[in-house]
């Protein structure tokens, strides 16, 4: 059998499980960071430093009963979490996390380190991310409960609003990199200015980066934009009625989405796997490092900032973020036009 094909399959599996693990890791990290920020210890009993805590959670959820409100809409109630999780995983499949490699000669030719090869990769990420909202909205609607419905409404409005800024900030980078393929975008950031400043787009696109991060947080419904699941107001919002694995799926989706957003951010702004001191084939370590940094930033933010008010969210999204993103895009285009890319 063709080794490349094997390698591809292997790659798919690896990525899938890596994402699962990352979600687990995130759960643990979340608890730990939260604890530390609140001067607690967080999970300590389960395994070393509570490392096994996420698995304990998973097992607990496994053995929970699958509840469904009688008034809920059967089909959609089941589909919703699946959509969420599926979208979350699917989005990652076009995100490269390392330079093309032939695994030390095991393969006849180099294969790029991502699951699916598309020349409009970045748009795919965008598209699939935008599909994720359906899971939440449907969950909210189908569970036929006020809180969930409100959560769903909020989610849809919020995501639509912030998708625009999200896309704008992406577009700025695309204009800069003059390509749609994440691979090439990353390669466009190799090398250094003056020998020591890495050619990352974040230095050319500080505003774009900021906008992207903010919009990304809103897209993944993380604090301080976690309105769909605002515990205090909506008692967990769209997944109020969910339990057991379907509940777990939403969580999985949320964390995987975070990972995806961070990974894309890394590729777009932080030079992907390019970094000093490491041989090219170890570049993915740099990649993971950067992703981890951004993820930590996520957690940090969540446990530092209070939640906005909903109207504030909308005001900010439409009246601040979107104009800023648009101007940034225009400025970038002008700059590229002027300096000739």
């Amino acid at each position: 059998m063709d080794p490349v094909f094997i390698a591809q399959v292997a790659l798919v599996l690896v990525v899938f499980h890596a994402l699962l693990l990352s979600a687990a890791g995130m759960v643990w990290a979340e608890r730990k960071v939260a604890a530390r920020l609140q001067q607690r210890f967080g999970p300590t009993y389960t395994g070393f430093a509570g490392l096994l805590q996420p698995f304990a959670d998973v097992f607990k959820l496994f053995f929970k009963e699958e509840l469904r409100p009688a008034a809920a809409d059967k089909i959609l109630f089941y589909i919703a979490p699946i959509i969420s999780a599926a979208a979350a995983f699917a989005a990652f499949c076009v995100v490269p996390f390392g330079p093309p490699t032939d695994f030390w000669g095991l393969l006849p030719h180099k294969i790029p380190l991502y699951v699916a090869d598309v020349n409009v990769a970045i748009l795919i990420v965008f598209a699939i991310a935008s599909m994720g909202v359906y899971g939440i909205v449907l969950a909210g609607w189908s569970s036929n409960s006020k809180y969930s419905l409100l959560g769903g409404l909020r989610a849809s409005a919020q995501m639509i609003s912030y998708e625009l800024s999200y896309g704008m900030s992406l577009a700025a980078v695309l204009v800069l990199a003059n390509t749609l393929s994440l691979q090439e975008i990353v390669n466009g950031q190799s090398g250094y200015w003056f020998g020591f400043i890495p050619r990352w787009f974040v230095f050319l696109q500080p505003i774009g980066f900021a906008v992207y991060m903010i919009a990304g947080i809103a897209e993944t419904n993380r604090a301080p934009f976690d309105f769909p699941e605002a515990e205090q107001e909506l008692v967990a919002g769209y997944h109020t009625e969910y339990s057991s694995m379907s509940f777990a799926m939403f969580f999985l989706a949320e964390y995987v989405n975070m990972v995806t957003v961070s990974a894309v951010a890394t590729n777009l702004f932080l030079g992907g796997w390019h970094g000093p001191f490491l041989p090219a084939w170890l570049g993915f370590l740099w990649f993971f490092l950067k992703v981890a940094a951004i993820l930590f930033f996520y957690l940090w933010l969540r446990w530092t900032m209070p939640r906005f008010r909903y109207d504030q969210l909308m005001q900010f999204g439409w009246k601040v973020l979107l104009p800023v993103a648009t101007l940034n895009l225009l400025a970038t285009a002008a700059g590229v036009l002027y300096f000739g890319a």
Binding site: D73, L76, V118, N119, V120, L123, I124, F126, A127, I128, S130, M131, V133, Y134, V137, L138, G140, W141, L149, G152, L153, S156, A157, M159, I160, E163, G167, L180
Partner: protein, 177 residues
Amino acid sequence: MALETILFYVLGTLAVGSSLLVIGQRNPVYSVMLLIASFAALAGIYVLLDAPFTAVTQIIVYAGAIMVLFLFVVMLLNVGQEDAAEYDRSHPFNRPFVRRFGALLGIVFVAELAWAVWHVSTRQPAAIAAAAPGSVSSVREIGRVLFTDYAFPFEATSLLILVALVGAVVLARQDAE
């Protein structure tokens, strides 16, 4: 059978089936979801047609934005089943003559479409695959043509969007009196 053919039939059936269901049942939320499915199928067909960019745009714009809007409205108004109760006999469509005429029109319409397609097939026997493949898949090319030959329509579109935006805001605002 070529992979392309299989995919075409699968996706095509999917699109047609879900579209039928869209108009076939009464729960708007289901309609919306099924329509999204149909759009996804169409996106797949676009990929078959070497138009990945259009496919992605289809997803982003239709599935990602427009449909969410529909869903949002459905949920906002929270209308359940469309009930047969509000069904006024007085409506002109319920006069037997009108109904017959409508049916006739429908048949004529279908016949005409069929004729048109058949006519095309007689003149354009060339297979799609025969046309230079990949020639239309380049995003760069699309952008170039869009911003040169179609520059004016593009600008006009921006105006349209603006008008729609304002109009939507004005219409949907709670008339504060």
